[in-house]
């Protein structure tokens, strides 16, 4: 017993989990702070959570190129995990900046909101750095439970309640799938460690045909694809995205989606690498279905928030193209794309946050008629984000799509790239339609008018800088993404 304890202590290596530990501690501290704060005053909690994120970012980055393995190989803080962690931190930062004013306006100035975002981010970081399926599962649970609460955060609002409940039920099911898959894989291979599973498969190739192995892998993938929002596991996204408070939707569409992709990448590429051909074929189909369904359903939406929800499905499809390619460019491109997507999508949601007034959010296309003239700054910002989402140069959206499709072409999936760009062409229509309403229609008389709050403006400006800088000089960050690949 004593012996066992010694081994465990040696293998712990706290440095491997330091970022999420720091973030979780801050989260608990902030819970206390918000308990002792005056009711309705939360701005200081928001600022402290920003400090928490900045500190965590510094801790995370300090391990770059210096991978830390801990807990007997069940977590690793490698470049891959660090890159993704930075994406989550940026997503959380941009979200918190737009949240404070919004929450007060909507009448929910509750301090717990910020710790929940921090816990969610910490969970995402666990998922990205987990090398054991159980670690990944723990991260997923921390992330999901926080999100269920956040989605239903407006407890007086029916839609928000619906979103929270729906997300909870479906999320619980998908986690069940995932866990069942882990159990089956454990039964076949005798381990929950990704590397051990991979080794087992490569030593005994016959195991691939074992029905338990197949069922286990499929169930595992379903669990991740649910969180990614890939077709056919996307049904929850529109309702949850539409019902959840807008900043939460912004965060959900970027952070947790990237986290699920990170875990998916590690499991697929390292764990199931020996059946690469099958995985590529499967993801080929998934990517195509996801792009097509997301884009074509988005075409008929008249609510901008819901439209962005469907478009986020489509963007998940573009990211999956990188997995199909299964080469270094494709993989780095996914990392790059998720970073870019974080900037452009949260930016677009940030504009939506400032476009409405209390109780009646301005989210329909009609409500955006003449928006560009009434709110020049927000109009221009929205245009930049929409052009980025369309994938037009010189925005980062173009660079991201370019890299993803380049990966596919290089791997010989030319038709997949063609389907991808044609899907982009479809997406032009619904993104352009927002611009049509903003600039080509006359303004409505009664116009919701919210003051431009400085933090939200900062968030939008940061997103604009991100979208343009990564578009004009994508080189350095893409270089980092390359170093972050396996």
């Amino acid at each position: 017993m004593e012996n066992l304890g010694q081994i465990a202590m040696q293998n712990i290596n706290m440095a491997a989990i330091m970022p999420s530990v720091v973030l979780s501690c801050f989260g608990m501290l902030l819970l206390l702070v918000s308990v002792f704060s005056k009711r309705g005053r939360t701005t200081h909690v928001a600022w402290m959570s920003i400090v928490a994120l900045v500190v965590t970012a510094a801790v995370t980055v300090s391990s770059w190129n210096n991978p830390q393995e801990g807990f007997a190989g069940s977590v690793v803080l490698d470049n891959f995990a660090i890159f993704f962690s930075m994406i989550f931190i940026i997503a959380a930062l941009l979200t918190i900046l737009i949240s404070d004013g919004y929450l007060r306006r909507e009448g929910y100035p509750v301090g717990e909101y910020y710790p929940l975002i921090l816990f969610c981010t910490a969970g995402a970081m666990w998922m990205a750095s987990g090398t054991d399926l159980m670690t990944i599962f723990l991260g997923l649970e921390v992330l999901s439970v926080s999100l269920y609460v956040l989605a239903g955060f407006f407890r007086g609002d029916v839609r928000s309640n619906e979103a929270g409940l729906k997300y909870f039920f479906l999320g619980a099911f998908s986690t069940g799938f995932l866990l069942y898959g882990v159990a089956l894989l454990y039964g076949v291979t005798g381990s929950t460690k990704i590397a051990a599973i991979a080794q087992h498969v490569s030593e005994m190739p016959a195991v691939i045909d074992n029905p338990m192995m197949i069922a286990g892998s499929v169930l595992l993938l379903i669990g991740f694809l649910f969180k990614v929002g890939a077709v056919p596991f996307h049904m929850w996204t529109p309702d949850v995205y539409q019902g959840a408070p807008t900043p939460v939707t912004a965060f959900m569409s970027a952070g947790p989606k990237a986290a699920a992709l990170a875990a998916l990448l590690r499991v697929a590429i390292i764990g199931l690498g020996s059946i690469q051909a099958d995985i590529s074929a499967l993801f080929w189909l998934l990517a195509v279905l996801t792009m097509i369904a997301g884009n074509f359903i988005a075409l008929s939406q008249t609510n901008i928030k819901r439209m962005l929800a469907y478009s986020s499905i489509a963007h998940a499809g573009y990211a999956l193209v990188g997995i199909v390619a299964w080469n270094q460019i494709g993989l780095s491109a996914i990392l790059f794309y998720m970073l870019v997507y974080t900037f452009m999508n949260i930016g677009a949601f940030a504009v939506l946050v400032l476009a409405g007034k209390k109780g009646e959010e301005n989210l329909t296309l009609e409500g955006f008629a003449g928006f560009g003239y009434k709110r020049p700054f927000l109009g221009v910002a929205m245009c930049i984000f929409l052009f980025a989402l369309m994938g037009l140069p010189p925005t980062a959206g173009f660079a991201g799509k370019f890299f993803v499709f380049a990966g596919a072409v290089k791997a010989g999936y030319i038709w997949l790239a063609v389907i991808g760009v044609l899907n982009s062409a479809v997406s032009l229509y619904y993104y352009l339609r927002v611009i049509v309403y903003m600039y080509f229609r006359d303004p409505k008389e009664d116009f919701a008018w919210v003051k431009l709050e400085i933090p939200a403006v900062v968030s939008i400006l940061l997103a604009i800088v991100g979208v343009l800088a990564l578009g004009i000089v994508p080189g350095p960050v893409m270089e980092l993404a390359k170093l972050a690949g396996f």
Binding site: L392, A406, V409, F440
Partner: protein, 519 residues
């Protein structure tokens, strides 16, 4: 200075735009003058290019600038790689020449959100110049797509009644084509990288020498040709053009006709033809057929229009057909005719859209039936209009004649002889629709009392038209100024193409390709 001249010309309008953003939006006069000033200075600093005799002796790229731009380890290299030869020279000059004219035409026509319009105008100029000077396919693509955004807003915000439909159609048509081209560009890059051939990022000159296998060439050529054919536009992909032209504000129509459409034809000359010479052989009959069909179809439809602007728009389809036919002749006369005709179309159709703008500003209608007898009321206008009409028809002595004549002679001497014969009837149709329109608008008695109080052209309007008239006659009477500087470049281009095409039949002589490459 000369080392960075092209960059300076390309980005000067963009710098102007940045400064313009700080001018208060109420000061409309200053905004317009400033934009005019920027476009004029751009024109002035581009003038040394036109007077440089190097183009008369060398067909290679001049004013080269080369900097590494994006370099991602083993993945990619994209370079800031620009330069011009005798072909792009004239398109750059056309752009810098038309832009001040287009800006001046907005003086009275644009009255809402002037700041936005001027900013977009300057952004558009940088994008267009960038596309003409890019020698790196990736860089070209960026500028090519960047052109869409300002034009989309120009049509959508300042356009006519159906502007939203026209703007979205314009955007989606053009973007769909270019997205397919993007996949082809990526493919070429990886193909080049896999052969181990010397390459400089997406540098197009290195790709010329690649010798892509013919099976791949077919797909790649189709992707490029489709994208450029939308832009030209070639029948049956032209349907966005009449809408966009009719709805765009005058300055937008002028730029669209004079410069943006040239992107498509230029794309063929610079990219589609020299990159895929073998595939071109296969598709030549089809493309030539579509060009000729465009000439006849455009002319017939133009004849039936009762809106002057629509008529001019359809005449563009016909004129661009001549350009394409000349280019596809793949000989000196044809190519020179095609390129001269690009400039001509820029000058005369640009002028026609300005003329339509003049009468529209006065009467707020463009229906031919609303007019009649204007020659009595507006003699200066009538004179200028007539000259431009002749130029558009291609009367000897005007620029249109030189271009169409060379293009047709070139086609006649090539394997496209019978296409040329049919295309020639297009010249007659052009005379019919233009003169008939002119007669109905300008001659006869003033039947509509509204036309009684029309004023003749103002000094500003005459100033706008004079430079265009100058070039109508200059190119018409002494085209050698222009031809002599584009000939070496055309010769080099054709040798490039022919050597690759010959190489298919007689694989013994691929040496020619290298000896002709002047670096």
């Amino acid at each position: 200075m000369a080392d960075y001249l092209l960059s300076l010309i390309t980005f000067f309008p963009l710098m102007g735009m940045m400064i313009l953003l700080f001018i208060p939006r109420d000061n409309e006069g200053l905004l317009k003058s400033f934009a005019l000033g920027v476009t004029l200075v751009t024109f002035l600093i581009s003038l040394p290019l036109a007077f440089d005799d190097v183009f008369a002796v060398s067909g290679g790229m001049q004013y080269r600038e080369f900097h590494e731009w994006i370099s991602i380890g083993s993945f990619f290299k994209m370079n800031y790689n620009i330069g011009i030869d005798g072909i792009s020279l004239w398109l750059v000059m056309l752009t810098t020449f038309i832009m001040p004219i287009a800006t001046l035409s907005t003086w009275k026509a644009v009255d809402k959100n002037v700041k936005g319009f001027m900013a977009l105008l300057l952004l558009l100029e940088t994008a267009m110049l960038g596309a003409f000077v890019s020698l790196d396919l990736f860089l070209f693509y960026i500028f090519w797509e960047l052109m869409l955004i300002p034009m989309y807003f120009m049509i959508g915000i300042w356009g006519g009644k159906n502007r939203i439909y026209a703007a979205v159609k314009f955007f989606i048509f053009t973007a769909v084509g270019s997205l397919l081209m993007l996949v082809a560009i990526i493919y070429i890059y990886y193909y080049a990288a896999s052969t181990g051939a010397p390459m400089e990022g997406f540098g197009v000159q290195e790709f010329y020498r690649l010798g892509i296998p013919s099976a791949a060439q077919h797909w790649l050529f189709l992707a490029f040709a489709f994208s450029f054919a939308i832009k030209v536009p070639m029948f049956p992909l032209h349907t966005w053009l009449p809408d966009a032209h009719t709805e765009a504000p005058t300055a937008g129509s002028v730029i669209l006709a004079a410069i943006l459409l040239k992107m498509g034809t230029y794309g063929y000359v610079r990219f589609a033809i020299p990159l895929f010479p073998e595939a071109l052989q296969t598709y030549l009959p089809l493309l030539a057929f579509l060009s000729v069909f465009g000439i006849i179809y455009g002319s017939l439809v133009a004849m039936m229009q009762d809106d002057v602007k629509k008529l001019v728009a359809y005449s563009s389809v016909a004129h661009l057909g001549f350009v394409m036919l000349g280019i596809f002749a793949l000989n000196m006369q044809g190519m020179a005719g095609g390129i001269i005709q690009m400039i001509n179309h820029g000058v005369s159709t640009g002028a026609l859209f300005l003329i339509v703008g003049f009468i529209y500003e006065r009467r707020h209608t463009r229906q031919i039936s609303e007019f009649g007898g204007l020659a009595h009321k507006m003699p200066i206008f009538a004179t200028i209009f007539l000259i431009i009409t002749f130029s558009s028809i291609g009367l000897p002595g005007t620029n249109g004649f030189v271009g169409e004549f060379l293009a047709l002679v070139g086609a006649f001497e090539s394997e496209l002889r019978w296409y040329a014969v049919v295309a020639t009837t297009g010249v007659i149709f052009a005379a019919v629709y233009m003169l008939w329109m002119f007669q109905r608008v300008m001659f006869g008695k003033v039947t509509n009392p509204e036309n009684e109080k029309l004023k003749d052209l103002s000094v500003r309007e005459i100033v706008i038209m004079l430079p265009l008239l100058l070039f109508v006659f200059w190119i018409g009477i002494y085209p050698n100024t222009f031809l002599s500087k584009m000939n070496p470049a055309i010769e080099q281009l054709l040798n490039q193409v022919k050597s690759k095409q010959v190489a298919v039949v007689e694989p013994v002589q691929p040496v020619i390709a290298q000896t002709l490459e002047l670096k």
